[in-house]
């Protein structure tokens, strides 16, 4: 991302801005709608974060409600569900980091070695499609295949003489179902960016390797994998920067009282406490805690990556 150096106050700079404004009036005008939109819907809510340190009274509004310091945070850290929420939120993310993150890389590398372009195209077309399916439909499909009485997987298990497994209503299976259905939905789409990087590799390098007698596996190991490392690193940084974020929709839709001990994450908790329970300030403090950790992680991982691999976001 580009760096901007805006120094205010110096008269030369000021007149430059004036000149630019005169020259590009129309460009400023074009930028205006989106700027206003983002300021209203993304910057103004930041003002509401102060609720995390306040006791919210609807009658008195955000500004008029009394300050209570860190009381909400203390309440959250001391509560019995705090560790469960942390364990689940981090657990799902680490599971995804280990299993879902490498999946598209793997798929892209394998697809890159396919020489029959028709086969390649059909694999791509079919694996991209689930990306466009809604979460509700995905969860519908999961429940169709996994349900205890009628799901095909359990029909198969029963026909082999085993006891059916209550996939949807057991805490033990929740994370696995969550992660693997996620792979099904996004592995194809996620592979596009790696495919693009792989096609960007200089064909001469590959040719030279073939002349030198490198096998396909050696070419993958020495050319393809190093070639996609920078892209993978950037995506990894972004992923770690969301280590505390779990998409709300799928968790919410897969959640039920029987698997809640393993499925309750911060986003569903904030929804339940804040919107359903109307305990606004408490929910804001939990959400703030979440995004602060995410920001710290993003900055930290980015710094580490810059040191180690010279690839970084900024």
């Amino acid at each position: 991302m580009a760096k901007s150096a805006i120094v205010q106050g110096s008269p030369i700079k000021k007149s430059e801005w004036k000149k630019d404004f005169k020259r590009h009036k129309m460009l400023y005008l074009l930028s205006l709608p989106t700027l206003i939109f983002l300021i209203i819907f993304h910057y103004i809510p930041i003002y509401g974060i102060q609720l995390a340190f306040k006791d919210f009274f609807a009658m008195r509004g955000i500004w008029g409600s009394p300050w209570i310091g860190f009381e909400n945070f203390e309440r959250f850290f001391r509560s019995y569900y705090f560790w469960d929420l942390m364990k689940n939120t981090l657990g799902i993310n680490i599971y995804e980091l280990l299993v879902s993150f490498p999946a598209p890389i793997f798929l892209a590398i394998l697809l890159n070695e396919v020489t029959k372009s028709k086969f390649k195209k059909s694999v791509q077309m079919v694996t991209y499609a689930p990306h466009f399916i809604s979460t509700v439909v995905l969860v519908g499909i999961i429940s169709i295949f996994m349900s205890q009485e009628t799901g095909l997987i359990n029909v198969l298990i029963k026909s082999l003489g085993f006891e059916p497994i209550p996939f949807l209503t057991s805490a033990r299976w929740f994370k696995t179902i969550f992660v693997f259905s996620g792979i099904w939905q996004s592995v194809g789409w996620g592979s596009i960016i790696y495919m693009a990087t792989l096609t960007g590799i200089d064909p001469q390098t590959v040719e030279a390797a073939i002349v030198d007698g490198a096998t396909k596996l050696q070419r993958i190991w020495h050319i393809s994998i190093p070639g996609i490392m920078p892209t993978a690193t950037i995506l990894l940084i972004l992923k770690v920067g969301r280590i505390m974020g779990v998409g709300f929709e799928k968790v919410f839709l897969l959640q039920n009282p029987l698997n809640q001990s393993s499925s309750d994450v911060i986003s569903t908790f904030v929804y339940r406490v804040g919107l359903v329970g109307a305990d606004y300030s408490f929910a804001v403090s939990v959400g703030l805690f979440n995004s602060v950790i995410n920001c710290i992680m993003l900055v930290a991982v980015n710094a580490i990556s810059r040191r180690v691999s010279e690839t970084s976001l900024w």
Partner: protein
């Protein structure tokens, strides 16, 4: 890779066999659920319930679709979702394209500053509750406009992709020529830039349309009036609630439960198909565009 290895060694052969086998299996795991759901939607529900249908439809019946036709909520939801797409997508496209073009102009001094303002929102925001309170103060709860003017109506990532497309596909010489002819920026944007950009228009149109069609979370929190529910909310009641929330069924008359379960079982396959049809229909036509679109963004994101 276009180079043909003259002496494919045994290890390469083995690799190829494994690779093709593995990818074929992948293909099957992606296509199979679709085939099964189509078959199940037109099979005798009792046979599906007993697990007798596993690939091809058995004892074909249109009962499920008949029930769907009579299910009023589904069609209200369908109508609402279509309306949200047709009004929401142009709104989102307007914001995205007007924002992207100035950012693509290297001689535009404010571009870095504006870029910062945009990208910051990708990493930090007020969060769920403050945004909800804002929407409530603006009177957008339970409002048709709410589904159009959502905080997510414009995606910063989409702006960046579109900007990159403009940067790489609109030659600066064109702009210079137009300037000499006395053409102003907005006329140039509308008359020259947009007509040169069908691929990115198609991609963004598809992204936003799919996003609006699939919208769930925001509809869940901002809408309580059933008349405004998009299809996904109705769908959720059908495909998940009864089966997965035993609590919902507590205290109900067993015969009612049985009837409900039976209806749910016969229609859940059909509604999944009906809800996915618009997206899956547009998909093959737009596929070549969106791969291009995402690649453009990937190269210089």
């Amino acid at each position: 890779m276009s180079i043909v290895n003259k002496n494919p060694r045994i290890s390469d052969k083995i690799f190829d066999i494994c690779n093709y086998t593995f990818l074929s299996l992948v293909l099957v795991t992606f296509i199979y659920p679709l085939i099964f759901i189509i078959s199940a939607s037109i099979s005798n529900p009792d046979m599906v319930f007993r697990g007798e249908v596993w690939l091809l439809p058995k004892d074909i019946t249109w009962e499920g679709y008949q029930l769907i036709l009579d299910y009023k909520d589904i069609w209200t939801g369908y109508r609402n979702s279509l309306l949200y797409v047709f009004v929401g997508v142009p709104f989102s496209m307007f914001l995205t394209f007007t924002a992207a073009y100035p950012l693509s102009r290297k001689d535009f001094k404010a571009r870095n500053l504006i870029m910062y303002i945009y990208t910051f929102t990708m990493f930090f925001g007020g969060g769920l509750i403050p945004t909800y309170l804002l929407m409530r103060n603006l009177g957008l709860i339970n409002n048709f406009a709410c589904m159009v003017i959502l905080p997510s109506a414009v995606g910063v990532y989409n702006i960046i992709v579109t900007r990159t497309y403009f940067q790489t596909n609109i030659p600066t010489e064109l702009r210079d020529a137009a300037e000499i002819d006395g053409c102003n920026e907005i006329t140039f944007f509308v008359r020259v830039v947009l007509p040169l950009s069908p691929p990115i228009i198609a991609v963004m149109g598809l992204f936003y349309a799919v996003g609006k069609w699939n919208i769930f979370f925001e509809a869940l929190i901002y809408l309580t009036n059933r008349q405004l529910f998009p299809l996904q909310l109705i769908l959720r009641e059908i495909v998940t609630s009864a089966r997965m929330n035993p609590e919902l069924l507590e205290g109900m008359d067993p015969s009612v439960i049985e009837k409900l379960t039976r209806i749910t079982n016969s229609i859940k396959y059909g509604v999944i198909i009906i809800a996915s049809v618009p997206v899956l229909m547009a998909y093959p036509f737009l596929q070549r565009y969106f791969v291009k679109g995402i690649m453009v963004g990937a190269i210089k994101g």
